[in-house]
Symmetry: C2
């Protein structure tokens, strides 16, 4: 299963088998059941998780108990409460499994160690962070610029696999629309 991580690393840099084995020795594999939690609000966030299989979600629960989905993650994506992870603060999000999942966890200390020891890992994480930054800017622009129907069509186009894995009510929460509005879109969408 580590080949999935290796492929992602090698999109940005080349690695010898020894280097990859060394990198892998800093990760911890974890199998999770559906609904199992990886991160819980008010707890420490020790790890960033690379997804090997399955599907997870990161979300905030507001004072009325309503869930707001910040992020989904499927194979090849990274997920955690990034604010808490990077700032070494308590979680304000929950991360749990939409379906049975396998992840590779990398602790904050091990991430910093790998970046300090291997310049190419520092470069890898810089490039990943830049890509993530751009993706979030595009999501904000879409929230400012597009109506809910257009946001739905864009998400279908960019991540069709999410629609096979994620219940409609969670997609609605991610898009910031009601479940009823989303049902209307999914019937009339031409995509």
């Amino acid at each position: 299963m580590s080949i999935i991580l290796r492929n992602q690393l090698e999109e940005h840099t080349s690695l010898s088998n020894e280097e990859f084995d060394y990198i892998m020795s800093h990760f911890e594999a974890k199998k999770l059941k559906k609904h199992q939690f990886l991160v819980q609000e008010n707890e420490n966030v020790e790890k960033n998780y690379f997804v090997i299989s399955g599907c997870l979600k990161a979300y905030h629960v507001d004072s009325n108990g309503k869930e707001h989905i910040l992020q989904f993650a499927i194979q090849n994506w990274w997920i955690t409460d990034f604010q808490a992870f990077f700032n070494r603060s308590k979680a304000t999000l929950f991360v749990d499994c939409i379906e049975q999942s396998e992840v590779l966890g990398l602790s904050f200390d091990n991430a910093e160690k790998l970046c300090a020891e291997m310049h190419k890992m520092e470069q890898f994480f810089r490039k990943k962070s830049n890509s993530g930054y751009v993706a979030l800017q595009q999501r904000i622009l879409s929230m400012l610029n597009n109506n809910p129907q257009e946001r739905y069509d864009k998400l279908v186009l960019q991540n069709p696999i999410l629609f096979q894995k994620v219940p409609k009510k969670l997609i609605a929460s991610y898009l910031g629309v009601s479940r009823e509005t989303l049902s209307r879109f999914s019937k009339i969408s031409k995509l």
Copy 2:
């Protein structure tokens, strides 16, 4: 004026005078008039800009000619069309000056050169990108979770200086609310 950049770099790493002079030799200073453009839609985006003084905005113009503000930048912030800059693609945004400004421009090639030559610069840009990523996640959560009044109050609290520099109609565009709604908030806000 380069001391402002040095201070930001030294929040993350220590630098000798020689190292800082070498880094600075990769930047180009630019003075801009009010309304002058740094980035224009459909053009190449050669540089990322560190702001020494003044105030700038990055925005998208939709098919109806309406501006959607993605980002402001004041002293100590970085601004460009990051999607176009990182992906070496044409701009989809405009960046221009809300007031007379001074910036230090760093080209894509010079940024990559500095990161390759100096591990500590690679680390600096990784950490900056991580912080930017977290700030955008918080903005998305606020857009999903908070009503416009709460988003306005949060922005006042986090960036009071913006309200001295930026016209109300631009703040309204950034928050995704109408100018009239914003005026109502600014009268009743307790902050």
